[in-house]
Symmetry: C2
Subunit: 332 residues, 2 copies
Amino acid sequence: MKKLINDPAHYVDETLDGLTLAFPSLVRDGAAGRVIRRAEGVTRGKVGIASGGGFGHLPLFTGYVGRGLIDSCAIGNVFEGPNIDSCVDAIRLADGGRGVLRLYGNYGGDRMNFDMAGEVLEDEGIRCTTVLGTDDIASGGPDEIGRRRGVAGLIYAYKAAGASADRGADLEEVTRIAAKAVAATRTIGVGLAPCRLPSAAKPSFELAEDEIEMGIGIHGEPGIWRDKLRSADAIADEMVDRLLADLPAQTGGEVSVLVNGLGATPQEELFILYRRVRKRLDDAGVNVVQPLVGNYVTSMEMQGASVSLFHLDEELKTLLRAPAECPFWRVD
Amino acid sequence: MKKLINDPAHYVDETLDGLTLAFPSLVRDGAAGRVIRRAEGVTRGKVGIASGGGFGHLPLFTGYVGRGLIDSCAIGNVFEGPNIDSCVDAIRLADGGRGVLRLYGNYGGDRMNFDMAGEVLEDEGIRCTTVLGTDDIASGGPDEIGRRRGVAGLIYAYKAAGASADRGADLEEVTRIAAKAVAATRTIGVGLAPCRLPSAAKPSFELAEDEIEMGIGIHGEPGIWRDKLRSADAIADEMVDRLLADLPAQTGGEVSVLVNGLGATPQEELFILYRRVRKRLDDAGVNVVQPLVGNYVTSMEMQGASVSLFHLDEELKTLLRAPAECPFWRVD
């Protein structure tokens, strides 16, 4: 498991340098340089959206800073949440005078630091609300959604809340939309091979040469089962079955589908998965709107994929289709 | 080396099904379904551009079918060129009445089949010209450019020739532009770990756990040296040195840079590479225009990256910046 890196201690900062050099719409900011914000700055009078999380998931989180998406992002070390100062900086840099929605994945460290940052900023008069991504169905039962982790489906909440903020909605409304988008999103992942932290000698977990793990998290958190590798269609079938059992779709209903590569999975295989997911949804009479197939939320060189379903009503569909632009996702 | 696939015999066709389901702007066509063409069909009166090659390099070749890029693409099996019938179909489907440029990588099998297809079609009155991608500096000396393989830099030729055709240029002019773009492009790759053909039990080559290969081809063709893994900066330095030694850039000159992942390399690492490539070009007084960082030309799960430089004059810069749109590359 070789890496094209320099000193592991500089991994995050060198990557952020390269990212912002390649995409001038993204700018490093914050006292420690661990915030990415929109180069054009805050739009006055718009509700801000700040996100953040551990590093190693590009394009998540930082890559989704852009028009109609999020305004700023606090960045931690690899697989470690951002520190309080960076959270404070990110929220401040997202503030356009109408309050800031904190929208990020449901992980303990991130929650603690974003909460404490919010307390600091309320003293400054910046109103904050919070919505947590909890789309990973493998990390808690349907009756304990508050325990579920946020994974790839978070980008749908970015999209819906970002569109709502762009249209001039107030903080309560943007927060309602974000929560509605999270509630309408379900994700499950499958892992084929692990990743290794740049500073570590060993992979984050191990899988036998013929083994896969259903339900794995984006940091290698344990899933639902480990068993022999099976066909892409069998894997896709189980993923769709589990997703629809957790949140059924009506015949004639609409969903967006995200077939997401975890980092080292060839695009060819993502399309083979998508083909089957699409067939299953077609067979169930569920219409697919604006599908996404590619590497949207990764775990460095982890091999595997996730499937997310974003269940749409007219309101969410309109927001999904609203214009948005960041280096990794564009809607006209 | 596990794969999310079904029967290896259906790998290409299932991937193409998923690709066209995800992106309705691409349509399968041709007698064997091994041509991808633009859904909107041929633009009458425009010079057509047909490409093609072996499969397993997504987004290349098929992903670049689109406005301001290529019109059709013939697809072979994994790492095997398209057959004559698919080449004939692709050229025919690209024909808008003003002739077709065949623009593809310099590989013996592809050349033979595209040449024979052209002979068939000249009898039908479709005029054809040919330009071959030869950007890989590791596969021949500067005095034997005709022996060099076409790799990631081919997409710059697509872009320039596609823009020229879109502006109404005739076949001679589009052909001249494609040849000029190829002559202005240089690429070198580095491999860290191999890929495996879906039908094979073993990887296409082997590299020791601490070894990399400089100059590797996109099918694992042997490169310039094999040696211990070194730092990303040292690798980037050698790549830039070799590229600029092969085709020097003037101080004050302009290039576009493509830092391309070969399939299993995390985006983080591509940005670390780009950071150094950019610094080296900045230091040399060479200006970077429209950089590309991502997975543009892959070899399934091969780990590694390539760096391409596209040397610009005013004519090529204008064509690079002209509008284009396909599922994997968009310029406004």
